[in-house]
């Protein structure tokens, strides 16, 4: 007997997308002076809204508004009062959580199950967590009375639009800074809805400014002389450019960049759990995850068995409408990203790796890529070295723990890694040797505001989350 899934679409009626959006500067939505751009639904390519583009003058206005708010209102405000604003924002996020989740899935393409159960709850948690730090900074280990840095310029990516906003804004505000934040050009809508939440919370004007635009807007923001601190999440190449831009300025910089995480499966692992972890590691959020477990390192003696179980599990993944509650894999965020995934996958075939995807009906419109696994991948293959940022897994094998560690560390990146084994001492031995900022053992892709996150080597520097996450926003 074959069970079929009935469609289970989440209602769009909870969101009200306006025809056009301005920039959020000094508590008001205002026109931008760059060329407006359109944001689309990657699942059907329908235009969702026209969005203003900030030019240099707009960036300057936003930075000045943030400066005035920092000097007159937010900087001098007692931490306990700042805390209450952040708690209030956290509560409004919880109250409007379904609206945020649906809008996120429409603009980004991620499954509603993920935006509803992962992204938005973490967003609320992030504000709730950092709210509590605002009046306890003297106990955080950075001296008795640490001061804010000033105005933070923040640029975030399109893979977790609202969550990355929370990672940036919550600690910045808790520490007494004001912010100018630029969301990615393909996913601006939840940031603009967040601007509305700031107004609902009566957050003083200028404390949070949201400016939209593409690379030029971001460059103008990070290069603006009125910015005291830059925080960026995105590609390693752009991270390098920003580091060069800030060279010699003495400004604080934190970078959360790319990754090519190894997910190591030892022969004694609980294989069904490991397979779930492999699937979660690479297919969560369509693989648009900087810490995705895109390199599976499986011990040779169980490689065939793991691959067999993995393929069986992949065949059950449901690709399609992001708003369907049964969907596992949604739409690729943009045509440009789809091109990159296709190009790197084609190169991998040419380099001799074996390509496999389950039978999978993809929608006619929109941007889609079937879950894919490459076997017989060598360390020298591009697909083992370059971040693919899509639902594509490379499989490599190893014989000894030493070989696993050597292969895992054989990358300029160092953001995350996974370990699957039932042997506790082997977990700790391996975790100690992996040059990566986050190590998931017998789990993968877990995030929490109390837990520091960030990379080694070319995956960037600085930590977000936990007590460690305060340092970037304090003048210490």
């Amino acid at each position: 007997m074959v069970f079929e899934y009935a469609p289970a679409p989440e209602s769009r009626s909870v969101v009200d997308i306006r025809g056009s959006y301005g920039l959020f500067i000094d508590g008001e939505f205002v026109d931008g002076h760059g060329e407006p751009f359109k944001t689309i639904n990657p699942a059907d390519e329908a235009v969702l809204a026209d969005v203003a583009c900030a030019d240099e003058a707009d960036v300057d206005r936003a930075v000045k508004a943030a400066r005035i708010a920092f000097e007159r209102v937010w900087g001098p405000m007692p931490g306990a009062e700042r805390a209450k604003y952040l708690y209030r924002i956290a509560r409004i996020i919880q109250e409007r959580s379904r609206e945020l989740a649906v809008l996120e899935s429409i603009d980004n393409g991620k499954p509603i199950r993920e935006s509803r159960d992962v992204d938005v709850p973490l967003v609320a948690a992030w504000f709730f967590y950092y709210a509590g730090w605002a009046d306890k900074l003297g106990h955080a280990g950075f001296g008795p009375d640490p001061k804010p840095v000033g105005v933070a310029g923040q640029v975030i990516p399109w893979n977790f639009p609202l969550l990355m906003l929370a990672w940036k804004i919550a600690p910045a505000l808790a520490c007494g800074n004001t912010v100018v934040l630029k969301p990615a050009e393909t996913t601006p809508l939840t940031a603009l809805l967040f601007a509305d939440i700031c107004r609902q919370a009566d957050l003083p004007p200028g404390v949070v400014n949201i400016i939209t635009g593409a690379g030029d807007t971001g460059r103008a923001l990070v290069a603006h002389p009125g910015i005291d601190k830059v925080a960026f999440t995105g590609s390693t190449d752009i991270g390098r450019q920003i580091a060069r831009t800030l060279a010699g300025t003495g400004k604080k910089l934190t970078l959360e960049l790319g990754g090519k995480a190894a997910n190591i499966v030892y022969a004694d692992a609980a294989l069904d759990q490991a397979v779930e972890g492999i699937v979660n590691g690479i297919f969560f959020n369509q693989g648009h995850v900087c810490c995705a477990g895109s390199r599976l390192l499986v011990q040779e003696s169980v490689a065939e068995e793991v691959l067999e179980r993995l393929k069986a599990r992949m065949a059950t993944l449901r690709v399609g409408d992001p708003l369907d509650k049964n969907t596992d894999i949604g739409a690729i965020n943009s045509a440009a990203q789809l091109d990159k995934i296709r190009e790197l996958s084609a190169a991998s075939e040419q380099e001799g790796a074996g390509r496999w995807s389950p039978p999978c009906q993809l929608p006619d419109r929109g941007f889609w890529f079937a879950p894919t696994v490459f076997t017989g991948v060598a360390q020298s293959h591009r697909i083992a070295r370059e971040e693919i940022f899509g639902p594509v897994l490379s499989v490599l094998t190893f014989r000894t723990p030493e070989e696993a560690v050597t292969k895992a560390n054989n990358t300029p990146y160092g953001l995350s890694a996974g370990i699957w084994t039932e042997k506790g001492s082997q977990i700790l031995w391996t975790a100690q040797r992996l040059r990566a900022g986050v190590v998931w053992a017998n789990t993968f892709n877990k995030f929490d505001p109390a837990s520091p996150f960030g990379g080694y080597k070319e995956s960037g520097f600085g930590r977000e989350g936990g007590r460690h996450g305060l340092e970037a926003y304090l003048n210490v």
């Binding site: 010699g248 190590v439 017998n442 929490d448 109390a450 837990s451």
Partner: protein, 288 residues
């Protein structure tokens, strides 16, 4: 026949580089004269080259696994041993510092402070993890902890304070398990090489500290651009030269430490240690 009284001819020391636990000359064969404050010749110092930089990075990388893998207690004992060896050569260092222009009292004060600084940092080896690590209360059935780990190979452009400043930049980098390549003070490089003799007899594994003498403006860019260097400390770099070096260092996203002016007599705090530490967070499910 009467014995002719003569002054014994002193045996002069040749100041070389310190790479991988050995004292090689610069492969370039170059040297430069070092003089005291009255312009009297003291010695020729090695004038290191790009090749020496690369050899030093190779030595530092080779030493990293072993040094970072030692127990913190063991690293503490070795740093304390360095203090012991330095104490034993107190008079020698006072003499060397007097050549750099310090008065007898100043020189003695600086040597004492340098010895005490090794002792201070030695004690940090097995405490910095407690102070900067954390057990994180995540909202789910997971054990989650964060620990500091050394960044890796750290390049250090040492300040002109020839002993206390030098010790104050090296000790915090290595105590946590990093390995280093140090460019010594250009005008006063000799105490750095004498310090290398202390290091070589302190059970410090070869390659953990590598010391180069020569021209900063020539050597620092090679370290800033080296793809196997993980971090760079620009303390001894002139302010106007920092921008170019930072731009170069962005090539592999080196961690860059550029402190404001430092009074080496001040309490050092923990900033120089945390500048070259990464935070690793490990998750594991809790369950039966």
């Amino acid at each position: 026949m009467s014995e002719r009284m003569t002054d014994r001819l002193a045996v002069r020391k040749t100041y070389k580089l310190y790479i991988g636990g050995a004292f090689p000359r610069s492969e370039s064969g170059r040297s430069y004269p070092v003089t005291d404050t009255k312009d009297r010749f003291l010695a020729n110092a090695s004038h290191a080259s790009r090749k020496d930089v690369r050899d030093a990075v190779t030595a530092a990388r080779k030493a990293f696994g072993g040094w970072s893998g030692r127990t913190a207690y063991n690293r503490a004992q070795i740093l304390y041993r360095i203090a012991e060896m330095l104490e034993g050569r107190r008079d020698q260092f006072i003499t060397e510092l007097r050549h750099t222009g310090a008065s007898k009292t100043q020189a003695a004060t600086e040597v004492d402070a340098a010895i005490d600084r090794w002792v201070w940092y030695a004690g940090w080896a097995d405490k910095i993890t407690t102070v900067t690590g954390a057990a994180n209360p995540v909202s789910g059935p997971y054990f989650n902890f964060s620990t500091p780990e050394p960044t890796g190979v750290v390049a250090v452009v040492a300040p002109d304070s020839p002993l206390l400043g030098l010790v104050s930049v090296i000790a915090p980098a290595i105590v946590t398990g990093n390995t280093t390549i140090v460019i010594a003070s250009e005008p006063a490089p000799l105490p750095a090489i004498t310090l290398a003799e202390v290091l070589a007899t302190s059970d410090l594994p070869g390659g953990v500290i590598n010391i180069l003498t020569g021209h900063r403006t020539e050597l620092a860019p090679w370290l800033a651009s080296h793809m196997d260097v993980n971090a760079i400390d620009l303390t001894g770099v002139a302010h106007e030269d920092r921008r170019d070096l930072e731009e170069t260092a962005a090539g592999n996203l080196k961690r860059v430490h550029h402190p404001a002016t430092t009074d080496w007599a001040d309490d050092p705090g923990t900033a120089r240690m945390t500048a070259f530490l990464e935070t690793k967070t490990v998750w594991h499910p809790v369950g039966v």
